[in-house]
Structure formats: structure tokens, C-alpha cells
Symmetry: C2
Subunit: 190 residues, 2 copies
């Protein structure tokens, strides 16, 4: 099961991750086991255990891969349009079946200690991955080197979670631009 | 069961709402029924049905009362400190047992149609309730009458939900001030 993009092991990995998301959506975290993922994906349980020690590790790998794929780091040449592109991707992801199942799992398992560290690790990875947008903007002179990128990413993304999961109202296509414009105006004048 | 603050019916109502929150935390929305709330609160089921037709209506009333109590509309004389006070209250509420149980319920029941309308109704009520902060600021000349208050409230609150439920990191006491300063700087310069 080494990673060879496009090869058999990549196809097996895709099937395993897809089975993981399906089962999370259907049964939730508590109802998930490596055995049932193997059965749904049509692979041997032992080959899953060879790569992942626990179901938590498997979930983290599946989430990392899917989120990196669905919310890539764009390079449009301007910070504003980079950030709008990130929020558009996040908007589509949060309204997708997999995105909703993952967020529901994250909230339902808030008090599961094994998952807290993984969740923080995932978020640190995401921030590190998107840091390049801010680094390029600083190099281009668009942004002060003093900005706290993690704080800005949280300020930019928060309203999407609010709208989808608290307010329960549709998130229209124009929202990302409004959000980015407000935050960048705040950053530049503060 | 008419409302008489401080009287017997108010004490009964408090017991019923408290039982509702406890049971939501323990069993979730699916496991909740008017019968089990009555049992936990030590009142007759029929007296609950006299006031609430459905468990959804009871939950909405309980949430509205608790949120209005925990996150009141302050009047400090300045928009900045009003908003900081609102976010401090929200921060404490979201880390409380009841706040976490309610958010977990909201997310777990995202696809329950009867709850979607109630959720939107609750949020509209909250925005209308906090609108007075912005109206006073407009009267004092602190804010342009063109601002979209609901959008600003969502921008201000979003990061708290992110931190508690997505990133799973502690929300420190200084965060509300940072958030309000960034958003108000953005509003004033855009």
C-alpha cells in the first residue's frame, strides 16, 4: 500500500477514504471501525492495519488528503483574489456531503480526547499550507510582515461555518468577496 | 403555567428548561421527548402539552430564554465596548455545558426540516435584539447608517465557533477585543 499516484495502491487508498467518509456520514464516529471500512472498500482488514494503527489515524489521513484536494492554495498574483478563491473552495466543500459529514463528526466528537490533538494537528497543517499566500503578499508589499495569518484565516472562515451550521442560511457566491474586502480593509487600516 | 417571574410557574419553567438542556446533552435531540422532560423535571406531562405543542417548540423557547439571559444587549455608551461585551458573553456561553450541548444539537440536526425554520427564527430574533447596539452607534455618529448589522454580527461571532468547534483551541479573554478592533477598522475604512 505504498502511495503511487494513479497506480493500484492509489485506487485502493481512494476507495478506503471514500468508504470512511460514507460510513462517517451514515453511522458517525462511534459506529466506525477499521473492520467496517475494509468491508465497505472491499479490501482486507489486515492491509488497512498495516498502514494505519487506529481508525483515528485513518480518519486524519483521509481528511487531510480530501481537504488539501478540495481547498488548494491558489496563486493568482494578488492576495485578495487568492483569499476569495480559498473561501469559494471552502464554501463548496462545506456544502458538500463529505464536508458536512466531517464537520458533524468534528462537533459530535468534541470531547473525544484522541481526536482533539489530531484536530489541532490538521488545523496547524492547513495554516502552514496556506501561509504561502500571505508570504507572497508580504514579499509583494501588499501586507505588513507583522500580520497573524492564523488569526486572519480564522476571521475569514468563521462566517462560513456560522452561516452553514448556526444560522442555517444559504451562503451565496458573493459572500467570499464581501468577507475578504472587510478583513483586508481592517488589516490595512489597523 | 402562565409566566410570573419569581412565582411557582417561573420555577416550574426553569426546571423544565434545565431538564431539556440536561437531556439534550445526555441523549441528543433524537432521544428527547416531552414525556422524558416531564419526568426529569418532576411535572405532569399534560401540563407541558398545555403550553408546548411539540418538543421543537419547547426547545426553541428554552434556547431563546437561555441565550437572551446569557448574552444580553449591553449599553456601555460606545459601540466598541458594547461589542466586546457581547463577544465575552458568547465566549463564556460557548464554553459552558449548555452552550456546547446546544451547538452539538444544532449541528447534529442540520437536516431535520422542523428545526431549520426554528433555527432561522432564533437567529433573526437575536439579530433584532442586538440591532439596538448598532442603532445607538448610528445615532451617536459612530457608524454609517448603511452597515449590514447581521453581516457584522456573523463576522464578529464566526471566529469563536471556529476556535471552539473546528480548531479546538482555547479562546482567550483577549480575543474579543482583537476581533472587534479588526472588524470596526474594516467597517470604518471600507
Amino acid at each position: 500500500m505504498r502511495r503511487r499516484p494513479g497506480g493500484r495502491s492509489a485506487r485502493v487508498q481512494d476507495a478506503v477514504f471514500e468508504a470512511t467518509f460514507q460510513l462517517l456520514g451514515e453511522r458517525g464516529y462511534e459506529g466506525l471501525s477499521i473492520a467496517c471500512i475494509a468491508e465497505r472498500a472491499g479490501v482486507h482488514e489486515t492491509s488497512l492495519y498495516r498502514r494505519w494503527k487506529t481508525k483515528e489515524q485513518l480518519i486524519l489521513d483521509a481528511v487531510n488528503q480530501r481537504v488539501a484536494q478540495e481547498i488548494p492554495a491558489p496563486d493568482t498574483g494578488v492576495l485578495r483574489s487568492d483569499l476569495v478563491a480559498v473561501l469559494q473552495s471552502l464554501r463548496l466543500f462545506l456544502q458538500s456531503r463529505v464536508g458536512q459529514a466531517l464537520f458533524q463528526t468534528a462537533v459530535a466528537t468534541l470531547h473525544v480526547p484522541e481526536l482533539c490533538a489530531l484536530r489541532q494537528e490538521h488545523w496547524q497543517d492547513r495554516c502552514a499550507h496556506l501561509q504561502i499566500l500571505f508570504d507572497r503578499a508580504i514579499t509583494r508589499g501588499e501586507l505588513s510582515p507583522q500580520v497573524d495569518c492564523q488569526f486572519l484565516l480564522e476571521m475569514l472562515s468563521g462566517i462560513l461555518y456560522m452561516r452553514f451550521f448556526v444560522v442555517n442560511e444559504p451562503v451565496d457566491e458573493m459572500l467570499p468577496e464581501r468577507v475578504v474586502d472587510l478583513i483586508l480593509a481592517g488589516v490595512k487600516s489597523s
